[in-house]
Every structure is written in C-alpha cells, then in structure tokens.
C-alpha cells in the first residue's frame, strides 16, 4: 500500500489535484452531496427491508437505486482523487483503512442480496414484514454504511503516523 502511495506522489493526477487550490474544498462538498444521495436511498431501502415503514411498497423501494449509484459514483470519483492528492496520508491512516474494509463488506453484502434475494423480492407482500435473511442483509448494510461515515469523518483525526 505504501509503495503504491509513493508511486503516486509526483505523478500527473497528484500534481493536478494539488495544484488547484479550490479543487479540494469542491471535491469535499461533492463527497458530502454524494453521501447524502447514497445514504438517503439506502436508508429508505434498508429500513424497509429490515421491516420498518411497512406503508412503503418493499419492492418499489428499488426505484431509488439510481440515486444510490449516482451518489456512489460521485464518491468513488472524488474519493480516488482525494487518495491521489494525498496518498501517503491515506495509505497509513487506520480510519481510512477501516472505512475501505467497510465499503468492501457493504459491497459483498449487496452482492449477497443480488444473488440470494433480488428475484424473490417481487413475490414478497408489498406492505408486510420481510424474511429473516432480508433483515440480516438490511442491518449489515445500515451498520456498514454508518461505519463508513463514522470512520471517514475520523480520518483527519487518527493515525497520521
């Protein structure tokens, strides 16, 4: 990781990100907008799949997914640029490392949903309780993304070596 970070420093993206003084605050703002869209969509989808807010049609919550992907896309892009702009700080930062592990867990959890539950979802009662396995997936998603926010916000305050 550190060798990779070292290879970035001085590179073309690193130079670009660090040479424009307003780019960092702009990307941070976009990162916050992205997290609002990502979490906004997921809070609705996951709380319903965990069995709450049963007035909301459970399968129809997936209409919110495009906003989740737009938010994720914004944050992946700005996130990669953050990393390229200050690689040595992120590479050794345990807040960042835990955040990335949680993003991977959330991704695998989404894959679990896709493989095991996505097809069945349309046969669930639209306004009834959800199956136990769906609840597990929903809670893992909510906890993982809350952790992503928590550890992401701690990055400036921990393990800068």
């Amino acid at each position: 990781m550190e060798a990779f970070a070292q290879s970035i420093e001085g590179g073309i993206v690193y130079t670009w990100v660090t040479s424009i003084y307003w780019l960092w605050p702009l990307m941070e703002t976009l990162h916050f907008i992205g997290l609002s869209l990502l979490l906004g969509g997921l809070i609705v989808i996951d709380t319903r799949m965990a069995g709450f807010f049963r007035g909301v049609n459970v399968a129809a919550t997936h209409k919110l997914l495009p906003w989740v992907f737009i938010g994720f896309g914004i944050n992946l892009t700005t996130g990669v640029l953050f990393f390229f702009g200050d690689p040595m700080r992120y590479a050794v930062n345990w807040g960042f490392q835990v955040k990335m592990v949680l993003v991977v867990i959330a991704g695998l959890n989404a894959l679990w949903f896709w493989v095991r539950l996505n097809k069945d979802m349309h046969s669930w009662e639209p306004n009834a309780d959800t199956p136990g396995e769906a609840k597990v997936v929903a809670w893992i998603s909510l906890v993982a993304w809350t952790g992503v926010l928590l550890f992401g916000r701690l990055i400036p305050y921990v393990g800068t070596g």
Binding site: E28, F32, I43, F53, K63, L149, G152, R153, Y157
Partner: protein
C-alpha cells in the same frame, strides 16, 4: 456572550478533549445523511419519481428525518461552543445556519400539507414541485456552506 460561551466547561471539553470534537463531527455527518438523505428522496418523489411508491407512505420517514435533525442540533451546538466567536462572525457559517432554519420551517410546512392531503386521500395528487425544488436547493447550499466553513 460568545466569548463567555467559548469558556464554559462544555466548550472547553469539546475543544480540548482528544475525542469529543471528532465524535461530534461523526454524529453530525450521520445526522446529515439522515436529514438530507431522506428529505431529498421525498423531494424527488414529489417531483414525480419512484412510481409504485405512494407519496403518503414516506410520511413516517419524514418523522425519522426529524431524529436526524435532533442529532445535528445537539452535535452542532457542541461543535459551535468550541469556536463560538469564529463561527458567529463567519458569513458562510451564518449562510448555512440560515438555510437550515428556513429548511426546517419548510419541512414542517411540507409535512403539514402532506399529512392533510394523506388524510383527505389526495397525497398522490399533491402539487408541491416548487417547494420540493426549494427544499433541495436549501440543503445543497447548506452542505456547500458547511463544508466551506472549514476553508473561508
């Protein structure tokens, strides 16, 4: 008054404790995701999105958004005390606060209209596109101004 606030034991705890400030910041971003996340989805719904979801079924989620609002009011007050004199003289911070204040009133107004429409069985035909766009703009400016508070 703000100097006095900065020197209260709470403000000193937030400013000097190793973990108080970062933990408050973390709470603040989680609250932000709940408030802006849920309310923006409600706004997109009011703008005609998410076919198959009833507008009225989002009302309990709006209640949940107020919990996020509470988290941020509390964590926000703690964060404010530690640098009260700086924040109160910062134009971007006051812009953020203004947007949140108007946003809270707007949310209350929109929620009231939706509750009434839901009771009358007309929530899905409610015409609130203008208010929904206004709401999205307020949260956009609030986030932008909030982020820039750290820079300007």
């Amino acid at each position: 008054m703000f100097e006095w606030l900065e020197n209260t034991s709470v403000a000193l705890w937030v400013g000097e404790s190793l973990w108080a400030y970062p933990i408050m910041l973390s709470m603040h971003v989680i609250g932000l995701a709940i408030v802006v996340g849920i309310l923006s989805m409600v706004d997109f719904k009011l703008l005609g999105g998410f076919k198959g979801i009833r507008v009225g079924s989002f009302l309990p989620l709006v209640k949940f958004a107020w919990i996020g609002f509470l988290i941020n009011a509390v964590s926000g007050v703690f964060l404010f005390t530690s640098q009260a004199t700086y924040f109160v003289s910062s134009t971007v911070f006051l812009t953020k606060l203004g947007c949140i204040f108007i946003g809270a009133i707007l949310t209350k107004v929109m929620q009231g209209k939706l509750v009434a429409a839901e009771a009358a069985g007309t929530a899905d035909d409610v015409a609130m596109k203008g208010l929904a766009i206004f709401s999205l703009l307020l949260w956009l400016v609030a986030i932008t101004a909030g982020r820039l508070t750290a820079y300007i």
